[in-house]
């Protein structure tokens, strides 16, 4: 475990506002400890900028333990950086070398309008959920939790899909900027559970429609979303969403 401090050369997208043109700006960050997370390296950069009186780089972050889904940086062309199954907040600088050049860009999608620097607006994902990504159970109306047994395998698979953190890396990684993996993960989670059955058809049709309305691209089965997903959700979810969709349209 070497603690030699590194110097990292960054090329970061800076944009003051959606209405103003953005550009890449180069920064050199000395004193980077290999134990730092990628975001802590940005903290260090921002401290250095602040002390000089420059404006720090804005980037979304919150829990910094890979579960809230806030962080959204494309690092050297890959959402959340090169390490698989990892959000940017859990990517550590030990995976980089002294003197490395790193390009950092925001999520790019028409459905994720720019806010500032590396911050984009992902509320389109919320609207996909609002269109049907739920089971309608008003508070207080629930039967006893054990009155409805759920096959363990189904329950486990439902969990695999439910693990989505809603970060949008799938959209950022997709050459078509499609939100299919995000949408399919929720469709799959709820379709695998008996509780989700009554709204099954309505749900998938409405969510797919909303995804289209928001301006996300089509899925072309590149599978890059699965590679970029910090929770490694399989594109089998997308296959499942398509089957659900066909069943909903044909079988009603």
């Amino acid at each position: 475990m070497s603690d030699t401090l590194m110097t990292i050369h960054l090329k970061v997208w800076r944009q003051d506002a959606p209405t103003q043109p953005g550009k890449f700006v180069q920064y050199t960050v000395p004193g980077v400890n290999p134990h730092m997370s990628f975001l802590e390296m940005f903290d260090l950069l921002n401290e250095q900028l602040s002390v000089k009186g420059d404006i720090p780089v804005e980037f979304d972050n919150d829990c910094r333990e890979g579960i809230c889904g806030s962080c959204s940086m494309v690092i050297n062309g890959m959402p959340h950086g090169p390490q698989r199954g990892t959000a940017a907040c859990q990517l550590h600088m030990r995976h980089f070398k002294d003197g490395d050049h790193i390009v950092v860009e925001p999520w790019r999608a028409a459905a994720f309008p720019m806010i500032r620097d590396l911050v984009v607006d992902r509320s389109s994902l919320d609207r996909i959920i609002a269109a049907g990504g739920y089971i309608s159970t008003n508070t207080g109306a629930a039967p006893d939790a054990n009155s409805l047994p759920v096959d363990k395998d189904d329950s486990d698979r439902a969990f695999d899909y439910a693990a989505c953190i809603g970060c949008g890396a799938c959209v950022a990684a997709c050459p078509n900027a499609s939100a299919s993996l995000f949408t399919a993960a929720k469709v799959g989670h709820l379709a695998l559970l008996p509780q989700g059955a009554p709204e099954r058809k309505r749900r998938v049709i409405n969510m797919v429609e909303q995804m289209e309305k928001e301006g996300f691209g089509d899925c072309s089965n590149h599978g890059e979303c699965e590679a970029a997903c910090p929770k490694e959700i399989s594109i089998s979810a997308i296959a499942m969403m398509r089957r659900e969709y066909v069943k909903a349209v044909v079988g009603s």
């Binding site: 997208w13 078509n176 089509d218 490694e232 997308i238 349209v249």
Partner: protein, 237 residues
């Protein structure tokens, strides 16, 4: 959900579009396989079997024309949906990335997957040339006739040999068949992923089968012009 407009809107939805490309794609792959298996007759030095094969096809008369028109519509639908997907893709990311890299692992992103629109358009243009050149090329009245079982038929074999005696045509066909290989490499996998009930653990196997099939089809087709060129070099046109 049974109103016809619902079905139409379903077919034009993101999922519907993908399924349409997949279904038309699979049918086209089946056509390509049958086309290749017929064309393999060109590997033989005797022109009769190939002409016999084309003659048999033509003996179906109206039915053949229906199938041909059907195929044409299939191709146009496949292309139309493909172009729609491409247009939406452009609209969905107006500003691109400075650096793009694949994260590897389960990613199926490749040169093949990223160039589907380009290879698709090339194939479409090729088809026009190919059909004009072969289907509507010189016929019996222009002297391209031969006798099969005592009947005068079109000598398509002669036309094929003449075309592939020209190195430029050979290069053109070989080039396009490589494009076909690229298109099928992602296309077959993608169609299976779109249509099949795939478990993640079969994904790699299906991806490999798709690769094998694409290579076999592309190589099968491109070997024909080369074979003919080698065997008929210098033949008079």
């Amino acid at each position: 959900m049974k109103e016809p407009n619902k079905l139409l809107s379903a077919l034009t939805s993101q999922v519907g579009r993908k399924l349409l490309t997949g279904i038309t794609g699979v049918l086209l792959v089946l056509f390509v396989i049958s086309h290749l298996s017929g064309n393999l007759a060109l590997l033989r030095s005797d022109p009769a079997p190939f002409n016999q094969y084309t003659q048999t096809l033509h003996s179906f008369g109206l039915l053949l024309i229906i199938v041909e028109v059907g195929l044409g519509l299939l191709i146009l639908l496949h292309a139309y949906v493909g172009i729609t997907i491409m247009q939406r893709k452009r609209a969905a990311r107006k500003q691109g990335y400075d650096v793009v890299a694949s994260k590897g692992g389960p990613s199926r992103q490749s040169l093949s997957s990223r160039t589907m629109a380009v290879t698709g358009i090339i194939l479409l243009l090729f088809l026009v040339i190919h059909i004009v050149q072969m289907r509507f090329g010189p016929s019996i009245s222009q002297g391209y006739s031969t006798m099969i079982n005592g009947q005068e038929v079109r000598d398509l074999h002669r036309l094929v040999v003449e075309v592939f005696s020209n190195i430029w045509w050979v290069a053109f066909y070989v080039g396009v068949m490589i494009m076909l290989g690229f298109h099928l490499r992602h296309g077959i996998w993608s169609a299976l992923q779109s249509l099949a009930a795939m478990k993640p653990r079969y994904s790699t196997a299906i991806y490999s089968v798709a690769f094998l099939l694409a290579v076999l089809l592309a190589v099968g087709f491109l070997i024909l012009p080369i074979w003919i060129y080698i065997n008929h070099r210098g033949a008079t046109v």
